[in-house]
């Protein structure tokens, strides 16, 4: 395959899937800059394997899978963990300084849901996002996450249950 043809295929894939993959990565890493960096790496991997792709459907699920794997690798990485410790210290310090101010800020229900989902354990968060946000079918989620359909269904159910409990707690103590 000629380089110009590969470039064109990559450009088309980036135009078509770039944004949805960035949204996908964002749901894992909660940072736009990192999400974009991860998606760029996914596209580089696509470029390296470009000759093996023939069908559109395969490409989309492959890109989803590789982006999810990249995100999980990032979340496990030392640089990310270091960053988390840093934000925890910052949050704790800010919490003691402005707790009164914080308490009077009323978040809208949708924002609360959004925040709670983003802070769910990854295994629940990913299936909830893939299902409700990216509108993937159970079978597609199973494919991109390398889980079985039954596990996806179970995690979806438990994730929603957990979300409900956390929402109730937020209402009670918020």
């Amino acid at each position: 395959m000629e380089d110009s043809q590969k470039d064109l295929m990559l450009e088309n894939a980036m135009v078509q899937y770039g944004e949805e993959l960035t949204r996908l990565a964002y749901t894992y890493v909660k940072d736009t800059y990192t999400a974009k960096d991860i998606v760029q790496n996914s596209f580089i991997k696509y470029y390296e394997k470009i000759h093996t792709f023939r069908e559109e459907a395969t490409l989309k699920t492959w890109l989803y899978r590789i982006t999810i794997n990249e995100c999980k690798d990032y979340l496990k990485s030392w640089s990310h963990r270091k960053l988390q410790v840093f934000s925890f210290i910052q949050e704790t310090a800010r919490g003691t300084e402005t707790s009164v101010e914080n308490s009077v800020i009323q978040q809208s229900t949708n924002e609360e849901i959004k925040e709670i989902v983003l802070n769910l354990p990854t295994k629940y968060k990913e299936v909830i996002f893939l299902y409700f946000y990216h509108s993937l079918k159970i079978e597609e989620i199973a494919e991109v996450t390398s889980l079985t359909s039954n596990t996806v269904k179970t995690r979806l159910r438990r994730g929603k249950q957990k979300l409900k409990t956390l929402m109730e707690e937020a209402e009670m103590y918020g």
Partner: protein, 324 residues
């Protein structure tokens, strides 16, 4: 909060995620930098060092098939026409984990289609009743598949036996000692299965019991091998086996394969592992469940598993079906 509200709430998330032209140019720049770096490394003759030994075990060896010489040269001419697997793009391999008594505790038959990049895997119950064959096809006796390695001529007999059962010629075999597999496993390799709705136990190879709890399970290397060779199959166990197989295939590293290639008994001569990096992303792995067609039986007080004939024919077809 209902599904609709949840969907609406999530749609409000972070709008600044457009993958702009700037981002696209950055990808091209990174590719060109990456290629330039690779050129330099080749010139210097340095070998790229890949990830250290991480998650990997039994099923990693499935990916041996990906790097076999037969995939680049069409060497499968020896397959006779009455066998199921006659497509020259398809390679088959049996992966066995043998214990200190020479019995195989886990036995996986895998087929790989070069054309579609798909891998089909069947995990054979250890007590499956089979005619045990010598490498030349001579029948020794009928017994559990787990004994084929010890009673016959090691891995060659086990491979011939499983091939005959599935009407195919198995191209390659790999047998690994249980202890060698365990050396590759680290605590992080634990498989979790949270699809278990009700706690239950399955018998393990050493007469003990493996407990599957409701909610979270963490399996040790020994338990993973027990699960792979389990005579007890239901939807939950089939799902866990599928999850284990996928987890290991996708966790493949070059170092794992090199380690296994040194420790294993195999008819694979030489394998180039240098292209392993990211290889796992290319392949779709499907584990074919066998629970549905299994019949438990006792002959002279000895427990056996048998496959229903019609189901066995379905399995043979499914093993070579890469369309789904």
């Amino acid at each position: 909060m209902d599904d609709k509200q949840l969907r609406e709430a999530l749609q409000e998330i972070e709008n600044d995620v457009a993958f702009t032209e700037h981002d696209r140019r950055k990808v091209f720049r990174k590719i060109s930098n990456h290629e330039a770096r690779n050129q330099n490394q080749k010139r210097k003759g340095s070998k790229k060092h890949l990830l250290p030994v991480l998650a990997s075990a039994v099923v990693l060896t499935l990916l041996f098939i990906v790097f076999l010489p037969s995939l680049t040269t069409n060497q499968n001419d020896f397959l006779s026409s009455d066998k199921v697997g006659t497509n020259e793009d398809i390679t088959s391999i049996v992966v066995m984990v043998r214990n200190s008594n020479g019995r195989t505790d886990a036995n996986l038959l895998a087929t790989f289609d070069k054309e579609t990049g798909k891998i089909n895997v069947i995990s054979i119950p250890r007590s499956l009743k089979v005619p045990i064959l010598m490498p030349n096809g001579e029948k020794l006796m009928e017994d559990k598949f787990t004994h084929a390695y010890a009673y016959g001529d090691g891995a060659k007999s086990a491979s011939k036996t499983i091939g005959e059962l599935f009407d195919t010629e198995v191209d390659y075999y790999v047998a690994i000692d249980r202890n060698d597999i365990k050396k590759l496993l680290e605590p992080s390799d634990a498989i979790t299965a949270d699809g278990v709705e009700e706690a239950f136990t399955i018998p393990s190879h050493d007469g003990g019991e493996l407990k599957l709890l409701e909610s979270m399970n963490r399996f040790t290397p020994d338990e993973i091998i027990t699960l792979l060779g389990s005579d007890e199959r239901n939807e939950v166990i089939s799902d866990i086996i599928d999850e284990i197989v996928k987890k290991f295939v996708y966790g493949l590293t070059e170092d794992n394969l090199e380690y296994l290639s040194k420790e294993a008994t195999s008819n694979i001569q030489s394998v180039d592992f240098s292209s392993v990096k990211d290889a796992s992303y290319q392949y779709d792995v499907k584990t074919i469940p066998v629970a549905e067609g299994m019949i438990s039986n006792r002959v002279d007080g000895i427990f056996y598993i048998e496959f229903d004939n019609g189901f066995l024919n379905d399995l043979k077809r499914e093993l070579y079906d890469f369309k789904k």
